[in-house]
């Protein structure tokens, strides 16, 4: 056990799995950096530094820099996964999925079904996501509702360093295609992380706190903001349960419904766009499965239906924050049917 950043936890997971299994290879743009030049090699270790140091230990045979051709190398990862490797492929920003979605949606996700259950495609697609870095409309999206919508994919959204390591190791050992999404504003977050390899199972939510008054379900970076809100409310004696499902597919419907029933009030806090988004998905689940325990409308706290803006004054308004969450919980508590 030692303090590590979210970034270091991911890097450690990659190191440990590459050491344990020679079939694990890492693929992506600038995941080493400096290739073909006269300067430092492994200069970047990926745009966010997550793969730094892998080159030195595992060499170019297993740490593969790519041209800027996501369709080709994501598809190559899928083809390699069909034929014996266990690739971990990096898309620098999840926003770039637009240039290679077919290889995920129509190829990797559907092989097993189309081929009658006779194949496995054990690949992991890692990508950064999320707003907050002033990266504007094409470098700040969440987009996991797109992946969650597509049958055949598993979708993972770690919210802290310890989960990040355990979920990534689980993803690499998993035999299905896994979309692993890392919020770019969390890379420098610190936390206690066990040093040895370990896994966090998919489909098991983390319950950050239990409180009888209302349940907040949140994902990724919004988990921290839900906690902030819960602390503020605790000072007023309002007891909140905070649930982090950690994976959207599979989804831990049991825990979500259990707390919906216990508290009768559900607020979903999510960074993805509102229409056909993650908040709607959870709200619809609760509205169908836990209806008779509900004591107030299911509230969705999300960004508006707009692209992500550049200017700080706009982007901060775009993102849900503790104040909006607190206000929503109060609205729920004060609701008179």
């Amino acid at each position: 056990m030692s303090r590590k950043t979210f970034r270091a936890a991911l890097n450690e997971a990659l190191h440990q799995e590459m050491a344990a299994d020679p079939r694990v290879v890492v693929i992506g743009e600038d995941i080493t950096g400096g290739t073909g030049g006269d300067g430092e090699q492994d200069a970047w270790g990926g745009a966010f530094g997550v793969t730094k140091g892998l080159l030195g230990t595992y060499g170019r045979e297993r740490v593969l820099d790519t041209p800027i051709t996501e369709s080709a190398f994501v598809g190559a990862a899928a083809g390699a996964a069909l034929t014996g490797l266990r690739p971990v492929v990096e898309i620098m920003f999840v926003d770039f999925i637009g240039v290679c979605l077919d290889q995920i949606m129509n190829q990797a996700a559907k092989f097993r079904y189309m081929f009658g259950g006779k194949t496995r495609c054990p690949m992991v697609l890692r990508a950064s996501f999320g707003a907050g870095a002033r990266s504007a409309s094409q470098h700040s999206q969440a987009l996991y509702p797109l992946f969650t919508h597509i049958p055949g994919l598993k979708v993972v959204i770690p919210s802290n360093p310890s989960d990040a390591k355990g979920l990534l190791i689980e993803a690499i050992r998993d035999d299905d295609p896994v979309i692993f999404l890392e919020h770019k504003m969390l890379y420098d977050e610190q936390g206690e992380v066990a040093d040895q390899p370990y896994t966090v199972p998919f489909g098991e939510a983390r319950v950050l706190r239990e409180g009888k008054d209302a349940t907040i379900v949140a994902f990724g970076r919004m988990v921290g903001r839900a906690e902030e809100a819960a602390k503020i409310l605790a000072n007023e004696g309002i007891k909140i349960s905070v649930i982090d499902p950690r994976t959207t597919a599979p989804l831990d419907t049991e825990t979500i419904l259990e707390f919906a029933e216990k508290t009768g009030r559900v607020i979903v806090v999510d960074e993805s766009s509102p229409r056909c988004g993650m908040a709607a998905d959870i709200a619809a689940l609760v509205a169908e499965e836990a209806f008779d325990s509900l004591r107030a409308p299911i509230l969705k706290i999300t960004p508006p239906h707009t692209p992500v803006p550049y200017a700080p004054s706009l982007e901060e308004t775009y993102l849900p924050d503790a104040a909006r969450i607190v206000a929503a919980v109060r609205r729920s508590m004060n609701y008179k049917g």
């Binding site: 080709a72 083809g79 390699a80 014996g84 190829q107 097993r112 189309m114 035999d175 299905d176």
Partner: protein, 325 residues
Amino acid sequence: MQMTRAQLAEAYRKMRTIRVFETRVHGEAQAGRVPGSTHLYAGQESVAVGVCMALNDSDYIVSTHRGHGHSIAKGCEVNGMMAEILGKETGTCKGKGGSMHIADLDVGMLGANGIVGGGPPLACGAALSAKTLGTGAVSVTFSGDGAVNQGTTAESLNLAMVWNLPVIFVIEDNGWGEATSSEYATAGSIVKRAQGYGMTAEKVDGLSLSDVYESMKAAVERARNGEGPSLLHVTTERFYGHFNGDVDTYRSDSLKADQRANRDCLIRLRTALTEGGLIPADALDVIDAEVEILIEKAVADARAAAEPDPATLTTDVYVNYGQEA
């Protein structure tokens, strides 16, 4: 690199098997027994067979929507294929995939593909597996003259060079992408495009089984020796419309008649074998008869087989989901 008599007989049997298989699929489709649509390979047999004769069982191919011929050439079993096309539980994919998604990894057939241009990246991946795991296998991707324009093909040519992969791009140029001619849609030269990436590439007459085989042999040898990828631009022609429902009015009747009369790769091979004194006609007739029986049984079994149990709708989505999908 000449083919032996045994190889030639085997090649003839495979080509004949594809031709009869496709003819029967066409008949089943006309009779309304094929639930979906299907893209027939008849006319292009020498390409699939010439290519796959140069491969081992452990080598990989990635196919297209027009995949029956590739599948048979690589060793897929016709009973399962016919049952799959008819949507039966005995099908290669348990009836879940149909004509456009036949796959059998046990023989290195990584799947037909409903997405034009979907295959080349996958073939690069199979080649990467072979290279990384040191199996010595090579990977082949079939693409049409239409697919060659898709960005995935261009990206894959570059990636194959950058990673020096044992992959071979076989471009089957039958002159048409659905109802649009390559004359219109495919600018410049396919061989020159590949050479623009520094890749070894050549144009091959697909009517000649031996031309395809020998160019392929050389490409496979280069790939196995770590000398990198190659592209073969193979000219060929399809006998049927784009898919079973295509009335094919965009090609003149004279052109289509001329095709079957003068540019039938199967007739070409048979003539070469008999006139060349390599295999006597009666020996080929025996093969023809055996093939007829084989396919007849495939059709009969497929018709007789049951449709998949509706309960299997939600199986095979994930290896393990921890809950039903």
